[in-house]
């Protein structure tokens, strides 16, 4: 079994376990404000790191290429309050244009 299968199955099993566990835990455990705060901050940290790694790295090396143009277009779309599909599409179109022309 290769790492893609392990990742697919492992992620799926744990994802469901977390969801199901939540439905079986008394609500008061989650009442502490610091727990709520950490719960809101973890996605911000991981998603920001993923943006950075997917934009600026290639095989553990830092790299600036057409992807920066694509993600910059996404930033502009987000500032203009564009809906999610427009954000993703503007990144793809910009990036593809740069990649194909240079």
């Amino acid at each position: 079994m290769n790492s893609f299968w392990i990742a697919t199955i492992g992620t799926s099993v744990i994802a469901f376990a977390l969801k199901y566990a939540g439905h079986n835990v008394p609500e008061r455990i989650f009442a502490h404000p610091k727990v709520q705060s950490i719960n809101a901050l973890i996605p911000i940290a991981l998603l920001s790191a993923l943006v950075a790694v997917q934009t600026f790295t290639e095989k553990s090396q830092l790299m600036i290429d057409h992807r920066l143009a694509g993600v910059s277009a996404a930033v502009i779309a987000l500032i203009l309050k564009a809906p999610f599909p427009v954000v993703v599409l503007s990144a793809a179109i910009t990036s593809a244009a740069i990649y194909n022309w240079f």
């Binding site: 990742a7 994802a15 835990v25 950490i38 996605p43 090396q61 793809a92």
Partner: protein, 220 residues
């Protein structure tokens, strides 16, 4: 389930279709990062949580191992557990229904349910089930479409798919950046991940930022 409130139905349907459509981006991203069509579809059916799915695909695509991918996806999946804690007392279901409820406990079903609070607990339950099933249906259909599309493309860079993935992450994190602290954390994690990328094995620079989040959360 009593009569379905028309506002609740409208909320649920619009969220289901728009969010479900993002499934196209996921399907394409998964294939672009080396996942097979079957693996891609299984992730959408079984994991069924956008951020976690994008994360595992992103980590393996960046050369990270299965454990790094699973860990990052699972850290992002914790919040679904928290939604379960919030929804369980309102749904009041047991056995098989609880298993189904758990599977469709995601950002959107919880958000729509909580958005119905003024219309009463029955509207909240309707919002949860309608949105959960709706997103599940559309998310999986669009995943297949995106995966097949990406397979047909060949060189994914020529189609901009390698930028669509980070753009999708950006679109997921953007609405969460509400306070100054949120934005500082985001920038700190970007810098940390980039500085650590040449030093640590692939995947670890991403997971490690969760500890920064915990440290910031504990500070107040």
């Amino acid at each position: 389930m009593s009569r379905i409130e028309s506002t609740t139905f409208r909320d649920s349907l619009s969220v289901s279709i728009t969010v479900g459509a993002y499934g196209t981006a996921f399907g394409a991203a998964a294939v672009a990062n080396g996942f097979s069509l079957v693996q891609t579809c299984l992730l959408s059916l079984l994991t069924f949580s956008g951020a976690s799915q994008f994360a595992v695909v992103g980590v393996l695509g960046a050369g990270g191992g299965a454990i790094s991918g699973i860990a990052t996806a699972s850290l992002l999946g914790i919040r679904n557990g928290v939604y379960g804690v919030i929804m369980a007392p309102r749904l009041k279901v047991k056995g098989f229904k609880r298993i189904v409820a758990a599977q469709i406990t995601i950002d959107e079903s919880t958000a729509v349910a909580l958005g119905q609070e003024v219309r009463g607990e029955s509207a909240m339950r309707q919002g949860f089930w309608l949105t959960g099933f709706g997103v599940f249906l559309f998310w999986n259909l669009f995943t297949v479409a995106g995966a097949l599309g990406a397979q047909a493309m060949g060189d994914i860079r020529a189609w901009g798919l390698d930028s669509a993935v980070p753009a999708a992450f950006l679109g997921l994190v953007w609405p969460r950046l509400k306070t100054k602290r949120d934005r500082i954390l985001a920038v700190a994690c970007i810098v940390f991940a980039l500085v650590m990328t040449p030093i640590l094995p692939a995947g670890l620079p991403i997971i490690a930022t969760a500890f920064i989040a915990v440290a910031v959360g504990l500070r107040k």
